[in-house]
Amino acid sequence: MPLKLTVSQNVINRLTNVKETCTGNLYGILYNNTLIIVGLYMHSKGKTDIINGFPTEIDMYGVIQVGNEIMDAEKVKQIMNEVDVTDTPLYMSCKIGTRSNVIEAYFNINNRLEHTNFEIIAETDIYSQFVHIRLMTQLPFTSAITTDSIKENFLNLRKQLLNGQTVFNFPKTTIYIMGNECENGLVGLSGDPTVREICKESSDVIEGCIPNDRKKKGPTVEMDVLRIIMLKKVTREYGLDNSKAHAPVLHIDKHPYKSLMLTLNIDALSVVHRDEKVVNLYSVLVESCCRFLRLVEGVILNNVETCSGDYSLISQPETFHFFPEHCGHFITRIYTKRNTEDCMEGTRLKLHKQLLLPLNRPLFRRANRFVFSGDIQGNGLLINPHERLNPVKNGGEIALVKGKYSYYHYCQDNMDDNGWGCAYRSLQTLASWFRFQGYTNREVPTFYDIQKCLVDIGDKPSNFLGSKQWIGSTEVNFVLNSLLNVTSRIIYVSSGEEMESKGPDLIYHFKNHGSPIMIGGGVLAHTILGVDYNSITGEIKFLILDPHYTGSEDLDLILKKGWCGWKPLKFWDKNAYYNMCLPQVPTCI
């Protein structure tokens, strides 16, 4: 039976915008005779491989050729040979058109390309069928510091995963997935459940990306992530006769040597269909760990080889999962301390190009990491509360903040700033946005940081430090500039009524920059998150995030009482003047 082909909307979108001739690999998931192409990776100079950065079960299924030339049959065949997961690799052509590109697909069946139709599938539909699994554990890694030794030790680690002694567990449960050779592959559950059933069975095993928000669909894709930990059997079955087994023996090797001693924090993703049997996850999880080990091996080898003998430059690798907008799948990257954001810029640029992602904003900096609900750290502030609001109907054009921010408001961190700190809080919300989007690694500045910055640049006298003095949009501008290197556009209105005329400016800002806006002036400071502007009637509404809220992080209360919500023009005081600080988003990656 021929494969049914489905292509992710994200892949199509990216391909329709390509204007240059190029070739690349196509990556997909196969389930139930349907192939879903979810990712692509364009070829560039020098052999690079992304496969270990994809979640397991996403494999290379074919090639894509962009351009108007007649296909180079030989070259295509050669690349197709790399496809080892299917006998009928996929070939897609993307002809560059004047309006949009024309995409066609063929399966290579017995060395003949046969044209095939395909459906386009939205990201949300992919992840309603599939779930992610996040496999985590720690493995100690020791090796002499030579390329050969490191390679050999990684090979041994991978071999050990395959020897049947590996066991997987859904944390906080007694559900264990044992090796295939075991009598019962699944312990703690009866029958032969599917992934879908285990997700229902235990809310403990599942974590979404939007906590407490499983019913309502926001603009971000709702994803289920199953967490699994890996364990190791240290006993053998008694009955198995192993003639090589023997009593304990100690080998003492008195060679002094330099040793690499690392804890590998395994953090590997895979994608599985919800109808997959839980028992079948075993091989997926083993492969997932192997993929991760190959990825980390490359990073460690590179770290060792480029340190030219200075072992102090060797550092613990750190794993980051990215789920970039327009990409539609996870990309896992591992960075060492030496891989500073600055020195990785070239690598990131290449990666953006290879994945056909926008070149004007960071997507693979540390701060862009995907935050799993299980490890939302620290402050516990609400992220993007406005996403739970009901949509407004104004007949106008709506433009909103793009990406994530944290809601900063009065009285957080046990600090009583009620009555004077609103602009500080708005500034913190702005700074959190820049951090979430990866423009900066800097922590969101505290009140002290903000005041110190203003003193340091000479804007305020030294007794300002520790005071309870207000700041305004000018100061917000200064601080953003000094601490985050962000410039802002200041828009002045002499009365609240005049805000109506700024509709087009705000639409332009949110469309092109997408950062939240701080507004201050004669009276209170607020954060503007979006605008709904009808250019014909001139009617305008503002999406406001109010820093004057003093309660706890109670999303329902905040939305119900309008601390985050759409406000009409009369929200602004017509007897007061206003200054808006519109942070301009730099073009960088």
Binding site: T137, Q138, L139, P140, F141, T142, I145, T146, D148, S149, E152, V167, N169, T174, Y176, M178, C182, E183, N184, V187, G188, I229, M230, L231, K232, K233, V234, T235, R236, E237, Y238, S243, K244, A245, H246, A247, P248, V249, L250, H251, I252, D253, K254, H255, P256, Y257, K258, S259, L260, M261, L262, T263, I266, Y311, S312, I314, S315, Q316
Partner: protein, 445 residues
Amino acid sequence: MVRSAIADDSFLNYLESFSKLDYPTVGLILGQPTPIKDYIVHFARTPPFTGDGSNKSLQRIADISESWVADHARHATRMLPGGMYVLGIFFVCNEDLFTVYVSKLKSVVNQINKKLASNEFLHGIPLDVTDKLILIYSPSSKSYICKSYNPGNDVISSANIKFEPNFSVKWLQLECKYELDQVFPIVAFKANWPLKKHMNDILKYINNTLKGGVFFFDGEVKDETDSLESIGKKRKVPRTKLGHHDNNEVKLLQVTIVLPGESISSEINTPTIDCGVQIRLGGHVATKLWLHPKATVKDASLAIIQDIGRSLAARLDMHWDSLIEEEQDSPEDINTVHETPRRVLVNLPSSKVTLSDYLFPGEGPQEAQISLKELLDIDISEENGIFDIEGQADLTDLYREGIEAESDDLLQKLPNTTNKYIYFSGLGIAFIVLIISLLLHIMQN
């Protein structure tokens, strides 16, 4: 609550057998403590004192050497599976020791506890029972008196001991094979430590990691408080394995230990360190232990951990004792391989329970017979009483592994080429066979 213990009445005959001697006899009571009563599996008299040349044999209670008895307790503990302990001491003697020699009794018990506590990995003292039983058998009156002494608060209290005809416990039997396969790089500044000290660290490490493990019993994971009886199905143990014992069913549980991931020791805070020595552990520890029917999953897990620790500690101790001083720390020798003694199981004459003995490479069951007679006072015929359960390492294999580990760069490619050679010669042979069969086929036609 009065401490009580129970034993098969055949042991009374054993005690009685010492009445013909003209000097007092001392020995150990071995068994398993439970919250309700202690199950005694064996009485073993302490071998006659030979340490000091002047006194050929001991004449009076006062002559008993505390450290000699304590040493016996240590040796006997090595032979016990996890969950079994030296529960106390017995004396065969006509004097009223509890009134006349009470301080002597106490000091023997104190010495035993001190000795058993000296190596924590031997797990010689049960976690929640520090009391030791003291049983005095009087041959003249054929009566006995039992008390319990707590060295902690120095109080002797009364205790109950019962000798029951044909007494048998519905023991649950647990088995597992714990695999040792790990490399321990030793930081340069510790490189000069004696091996014994390193191994102590490693024992501690093994003990701690096992404590964090998940224990599966016949493939099931249960709550700590669940009883072992609630697990799995009953299996009959083949008669041959048990020797001449009655046909009672023994529940046999296979134990699987699963450990979570682990990080590098927190002592090491840089990714690269200077190593002086590398210790690689290989082989496995075969565990077979016996628990009373009311034991919980937690009891069982602890007993397994104890058994592995005790067994490793016991053979390391024996191994160190066997080394002459220079061997313990010989700087010229770059690579050494230490083969520890292997575990053999020994049937007890009056119970299903098996104890262990350890045999050095090259030693056979005859050596076990000698030490069993001496330490446990049992006669075993080698055919049906002693079982080799771990196997001996093949020395040539060991040394080859040693060399490979030392210079893996040089030898790394060697196995591949041999494999290829075998592969090609295999192909060649196959080809020749094909030709011959073709020829035969043609000739037949």
